[in-house]
């Protein structure tokens, strides 16, 4: 197979993107936040994130998020290969804007919860979870 000038350039760009990617792990989380909030400022308080301080097994870490009156809560794991965890959208019949689930964490990191409140503003909470055994295979 012959490489054309275009192929070579494409390959070089791809390789460059791959090398840069690991350093963008946090940037990916920031991008996800920006997409959710539309760049709006986030207040502290108004959202509660309950997570264990130490998780022995990163494969199932129990977390709970709650934000009274929120329309949606997004959860991010900033140290995972993909930061997104889940977005909870609450409907009119949700009694309290709260939910718990179990998530995977690749290692010790900050878990972030961002709530979109009823008045359109955003609130943020984060918790550091120490993980003894990571939960992303490997």
């Amino acid at each position: 197979m012959e490489f054309t000038r275009r192929d070579t350039l494409g390959l070089a760009l791809g390789a460059a993107a791959l090398t840069v990617l690991p350093f963008r792990a946090n940037a990916a989380a920031e991008d996800a936040i920006a997409e959710f909030t539309g760049g709006a400022d986030m207040a502290e308080g108004g959202v509660t994130l309950t997570a264990p301080e130490i998780a022995e097994n990163g494969n199932t870490v129990p977390i709970e998020v709650s934000a009274p009156g929120a329309a949606a809560i997004m959860v991010l794991a900033t140290g995972n290969p993909e930061p997104g965890v889940a977005t909870f959208n609450f409907g009119p019949l949700a009694a309290v804007q709260s939910a718990s689930t179990r998530i995977r964490l690749a290692g010790t990191q900050d878990v972030v919860a961002i709530a979109k409140l009823a008045d359109g503003s955003f609130a943020k909470a984060s918790a550091t979870v120490k993980v003894t055994i990571g939960g992303c295979g490997g």
Partner: protein, 109 residues
């Protein structure tokens, strides 16, 4: 994967009108993250449930968008208001297009 997926839902059988009840849901699913590798070093393709919804008589209670960071056998617990007797419908959407659902009716005590 569409084999061996079994939803399990815990909803009280009766409630007072307007009462808030706690609902627990669990569905057996391996939630393959797309990050793991097999013995030969090939990446195992992602296969997860990407959305979960719960509705009561057609009104949404919760709608969750799920990413690969949700654990195997996804579990959710949340609270719902029961304005009248009716039926909760729980729906899970798989990456492969499968849809799993479960319904539970509740009466007013």
């Amino acid at each position: 994967m569409a084999s061996g997926v079994k939803p399990r839902v815990k909803v009280p059988k009766t409630a007072a009108a307007g009462e808030a009840i706690t609902i627990k849901t669990l569905i057996s699913h391996k939630m393959e993250s797309g990050q793991r590798k097999d013995k030969e070093g090939n990446i195992i393709p992602r296969s997860i449930i990407n959305r979960f919804t719960c509705a009561f008589n057609g009104e949404t209670v919760i709608d969750v968008t799920m990413e690969p960071a949700i654990s195997t056998n996804p579990y959710f617990q949340f609270d719902a208001t029961v304005p009248e007797a009716g039926e909760f419908v729980f729906t899970w959407y798989d990456d492969d297009g499968s849809v799993y659902d479960e319904s539970k009716s509740i009466s007013i005590a």
